[in-house]
């Protein structure tokens, strides 16, 4: 079937394999650093300290697992939505090779301490340049396929894909401008408060262009595919699309509330963050309304379960995010464990659940085999959700508790607790988070086992795509 239609799917398989491998690495490192916070003796200086491993964790998660899967699924979706073979499968194969070189180099250089220190833009300039090359060849391949397409209409998923391609390019180029001193060392071209403002314009829009637009593209494609009924409203998707990509760019400074960045930039960020609820929930409602009359599928279709839980976490995430952008609440939870709670509801709940669904959908079709075990897929689902909820909930409680202690004062106006007194209270929560992380890791191993078994010994079938 797929081969008859002539789609280039080998490279989709390649990207999926590697993104899953990097995903396992990312989650394993997440577990390691969560244990290091609880038991500092697990730091093994110089290479394996928390300070060096945490950036490897975030980079492996966002770039290895996130972007790696997006590349696979964009190739898959774009070919099908355009009914056109990939413009250049050769270029895509080179891209896979380069992708793995870049991620491996990123891990090695960060471990050696070559680090620009800006969050999610840590890679030193030679590696960052390779990232640019990677993104350019990826974009050309997708855009050329779209231009040569046989299907005239562009489905909403393609809109998000195209926006993500330009969005990431602009963000990455601007935030990485630097002054090289040697091959392994450079300084940011911007200074102080200005550097901070550029960085968080980048940082928050990495959330928009990497952790929101691509998973939305995937969600809009795979939800109708999994349920068998079309998306509720294309028009609603279009309106939400334009307002989303318009509003996101104004909100970076909500990471910099109460800092020396000008007040008006902070205030704009706060206002636009609240307005962002509308387009975000546009997508959530579109998902829910598409389920009208189909809710029974939540019981019998594990793909739908992953997707609907995913979009629900997205909905919660986009209510929690705007509340964190309000100055008074930020004063309280900023810098505390609350924020990792927010981050991992997004990455483990929203992004990863949607990716799992897409991979469970795609792999049987690519290999012409039935899924090895629906039971294991369900087990994977419940363990993943449990692990993620334990992680986020313990961190929200920890964050609020530390915030309350840090702000507590005595009648004479002095502070009631020293910093260490507040930190000691966090240990039990950090143990809980590590347990949640381990549960999530186990669920991931079950997923990998199920996928590997599917490709090697799933029942042979002819499924239509």
């Amino acid at each position: 079937m797929n081969h008859q239609e002539g789609y280039a799917d080998d490279v989709v398989k390649g990207f999926l394999t590697w993104s899953i491998i990097w995903g396992v690495v990312a989650v394993l490192l997440g577990v390691v650093i969560s244990l290091q916070l609880a038991w500092p003796q697990l730091n093994l200086p110089p290479y394996l300290t928390y300070g060096r491993l945490r950036p490897i964790h975030t980079n492996a998660g966002i770039f290895g697992w996130g972007i790696g899967s997006f590349m696979a699924l964009f190739f898959y979706i774009t070919q099908r939505l355009t009914r056109t073979r990939l413009w250049s499968p050769g270029l895509a194969r080179f891209q896979l090779w380069l992708f793995n070189v870049v991620i491996a180099l990123a891990a090695i250089t960060l471990m050696l301490g070559m680090n620009r220190s800006k969050e999610y833009a840590e890679l030193e300039w030679p590696v960052a340049l390779l990232v640019v090359v990677l993104w350019v060849i990826f974009s050309i391949n997708i855009i050329m396929t779209v231009i040569k397409r046989k299907e005239e209409q562009l489905y909403i998923s393609l809109w998000y894909i195209l926006a993500a391609l330009v969005g990431v390019a602009i963000l990455y180029l601007v935030n990485n401008v630097g002054i090289p001193v040697s091959l392994t060392k450079s300084y940011s071209a911007y200074a102080g408060a200005n550097d901070a403002n550029v960085q968080w314009w980048y940082g928050h829009n990495a959330v928009a262009m990497v952790l929101t637009a691509p998973p939305l593209a995937i969600f809009y494609y795979f939800l109708p595919k999994s349920t068998g009924v079309p998306i509720y409203s294309h028009r609603m998707g279009v309106i939400a699309f334009w307002s989303l990509i318009f509003m996101y760019l104004w909100t970076g400074a909500h990471h910099l509330l109460w800092t020396p960045v000008p007040d008006w930039v902070q205030t704009l960020a706060m206002a636009f963050s609240i307005m962002l609820i509308a387009p975000s929930w546009g997508a959530v409602f579109n998902g829910y309304f598409s389920m009208n009359g189909q809710w029974h599928q939540m019981r019998d279709n594990y793909l739908v379960k992953f997707l609907i839980f995913g979009i629900t976490f997205y909905g919660l995430q986009t209510l929690q995010g705007p509340s964190q952008a309000v100055r008074t609440f930020s004063a309280f939870i900023h810098y505390t464990d609350w924020v990792p709670g927010h981050v991992h509801m997004g990455t483990l709940g929203w992004v990863s659940l949607v990716l799992f669904a897409a991979i469970y959908y795609v792999v049987p079709r690519l290999y012409g085999r039935e899924i090895y075990s629906v039971g294991l897929a369900n087990l994977h689902f419940w363990l993943a959700v449990t692990g993620q909820l334990i992680f986020s909930i313990t961190m929200w409680i920890a964050g609020v508790q530390q915030a309350v202690m840090l702000h507590a004062t005595n009648p004479d106006g002095s502070l009631h607790y020293s910093f260490m007194e507040t930190l000691i209270e966090l240990y039990p929560y950090w143990h809980g988070r590590a347990a949640g992380g381990i549960i999530y890791f186990v669920s991931l191993l079950i997923f990998v086992y199920n996928i590997v078994k599917t490709t090697t010994s799933g029942k042979q079938i002819q499924v239509s795509s």
């Binding site: 916070l37 609880a38 500092p40 730091n43 200086p45 110089p46 928390y50 300070g51 301490g113 070559m114 680090n115 620009r116 220190s117 779209v146 005239e152 562009l154 809109w159 195209l162 391609l165 330009v166 969005g167 602009i170 601007v174 002054i179 001193v181 300084y187 940011s188 071209a189 911007y190 200074a191 102080g192 408060a193 200005n194 901070a196 403002n197 550029v198 960085q199 314009w201 318009f246 996101y248 760019l249 104004w250 909100t251 970076g252 400074a253 109460w258 020396p260 960045v261 000008p262 930039v265 004063a331 702000h407 004062t409 106006g413 002095s414 502070l415 009631h416 020293s418 260490m420 930190l423």
Partner: protein, 287 residues
């Protein structure tokens, strides 16, 4: 319509993305670098401090420590005067961070004597037993100075050849400590704290044995690291036989002795707890 024109869609999306970008990212270049925000006392980094800063970046200390004090009561009392834009003009990159697993370091300069930093960085748990900061004893190795001059040039910081010479032979830890001591100390905020002790100073717990247990606990947590578990001294002088009126001891502890490396505890402990630890110290002398 756009549904059928991918190139137009791409251009339009780019334009839409650029609106917020221009207003909130590009335009502020002008406001943030306003010369009015400059602070004359804020000096560029010396070669040794800059090398220390690069080690801070290399080790990813910014994953646990922030460097910006917010104008909030709890921040200002715990860490010192709130941060001003003009204090960061030489910071490329900025190191404000996003997570306070450890305390803010924007004003760590001058809080502790060098000796405290040497011991703490190499083995934090020896000073603060339940800290989760990693041990950085390996930083005692020699500093690589081959790029120092190029770094100073790249950032346009002034230096004399003697400054570059002075860096040679130092350890990485020397550089890191030099950087720590510079942080936040350009503007003269610490001296003002001294004036904060005012009014009549009378120990409300004099001869009150019920506060000794708490005084001992505070001592163990906040003082023993420098004055020794048995008051025998270490980084700070011995307090075992100290013969001073309660009011004098109170002043030293409440406002600190910035020049000598004794931190101020007034704002983190408050008057009552300072009196309790003073009572504890005096009681040890008599027994």
């Amino acid at each position: 319509m756009i549904e059928k024109r991918p190139v137009i869609l791409l251009l339009l999306a780019t334009a839409v993305i650029m609106v917020g970008t221009v207003v909130t990212m590009i335009a502020p270049f002008r406001w943030i670098n306003d010369p009015k925000l400059r602070i004359a006392e804020v000096k560029p980094y010396t070669p040794l401090q800059l090398e220390g800063r690069d080690i801070y970046i290399r080790e990813g200390c910014n994953n646990c420590h922030t460097q910006t004090v917010r104008p909030l009561l709890a921040d200002v009392e715990r860490y010192g005067e709130y941060s001003k834009a003009g204090e960061f003009v030489f910071d490329q990159p900025f190191l404000w961070g996003s997570r306070r697993t450890g305390p803010d370091l924007a004003r760590i300069g001058g809080k502790y004597p060098d000796a405290w930093h040497y011991r703490h960085t190499a083995d934090p748990q020896s000073m603060v037993p339940r800290s989760n900061m990693p041990k950085y004893a390996f930083l005692e190795r020699p500093l690589d100075t081959s790029l120092t001059e190029r770094k100073m040039k790249a950032l346009g910081f002034p230096y004399a050849p003697a400054d570059i010479e002075a860096v040679k032979g130092k350890s990485e830890l020397d550089a890191l400590v030099a950087y720590m001591q510079k942080l936040g100390s350009d503007i003269p905020w610490r001296k003002e704290a001294r004036a904060a002790v005012a009014g009549e100073l009378k120990n409300p717990f004099q001869d009150d044995k019920t506060v000794l247990a708490e005084g001992k606990e505070i001592y163990g947590r906040d003082c023993a690291q420098c004055h020794g578990a048995g008051l025998e001294g270490g980084i700070g002088p011995s307090l075992a036989d100290i013969d001073q009126p309660d009011a004098e001891l109170f002043k030293s502890v409440y406002a600190g002795i910035p020049a000598g490396g004794m931190p101020a505890f007034g704002e983190t402990l408050g008057k009552d707890r300072v009196w309790k630890v003073v009572t504890f110290i005096k009681y040890q002398k008599r027994h």
